[in-house]
Amino acid sequence: MAKPMKNVFKKPYAFGILYGSLLVSFSIFVLLDTFVIPKGITKVVEGETAEGTEGVTEEAAGGEALYTDSFYRDDKITVNITVTREYETQIYIADIKLKNISLLKTAFARNTYGRNIKQATSEIAEENKAILAINGDYYGFRDYGYVIRNGTLYRDNGNAAEALAVMADGSFQIFKEDSVSASSLLEEGALQVLSFGPVLLEDSTIMVSEDTEVGKAMLSNPRTAMGMVSPLHYVFVVSDGRSEESTGLSLYQLAMILQELDCSTAYNLDGGGSSTIWFNGKVINNPTDGRRAGERQVSDIVYIGY
């Protein structure tokens, strides 16, 4: 047994072919494990709600709704969509006023928490009967970053990044994941925690410089961000980019737009090909990854709905 093994090591090509095959096979497995194979699956329990948010049901929905292509209003929710053009880019702004923080929700692709579980923003929004939806932080593409959604803790494996917590009183709180535990955040009343970044505005001050970028990416990109004007008054901003019609925004430009919209706190979410805004049953921006047009499948969405 030992002799043939030794011979493999001595033959000019046998070892190379054997080892090369093993290396290629293992590399393919690692690629599939990272990008394709779903894992760590937890089905979201139907009707799972955060403490203090129970009782918001279809019956409790805010009465008769006025719904147009750029406007929604009922007794509890007002959404106003405006489309502007700045920095050679089409920008979609949703101004949102809520009566209750439980109306700002998040949802997972296929209603399931886990890595590599993906679905288009529009499909997740439709399945959750959303009124307005944007893509979230694509938590399922990474093994780190707190995940608290609708008052339930799914991942407490943090990193040094700054994350955004939507608190039970409707305020946005910025925190460093290495300085506060996910469970203590939950105890303090965090309903949603999104971990992408960077922080764009804090105390109405721009927190990014003109050359700040996510992972040394190009300065102009499609973007998704959410900001708080005051508790229960929020802004979702999505921009097109990487196309002939729209260059895209830098993080600094995005922060300036959110500052002009009177946001005190604002946070950057997953952008690029993921950037999608869905309203009144359709995607209203032009999602593209720069190579092909259309929605990219994502792990999660942030939405307004009952």
Binding site: F9, K10, K11, P12, F15, G16, Y19, G20, L23, F26, S27, V30, L31, D33, T34, F35, F141, R142, D143, Y144, V214, G215, K216, A217, M218, L219, N221, R242, G272, G290, R291
Partner: protein, 124 residues
Amino acid sequence: MTLSILDIKDREKRSCGNYIIIAVCCYFFSSIYNLFGHGVHSFYMDFLFLWPLLGAVWYLLVSFLHKHSGRISRNAMGAGTATLTAGSLLKGIFEIAGTSSPYEEIFFLIGMVLLAAGMISNLL
């Protein structure tokens, strides 16, 4: 004392040349990959070519030292370089995509052990 490139033994010269070709291929691959990365760069992708280049430099050094590289040492060197290059390639892909894998370290660990084994056995 002056040593000419002509003094390099044929086998080492061939190995050195092969590793340089692989390094050039890696350089072109990472350059092309970067063209489609929307400006996102990774150190591991940008310097992918360094592992095979290290192999080329090693064989150049070995030939100057008049050391004989046996089959086992050459296999270990080749396997180590290939593993480290594959590890760097995958880490580069993951960093550009904005993700990571717990398996990354395995490539670097095994690659370094094989590379060190190849170098040590070459010098013995």
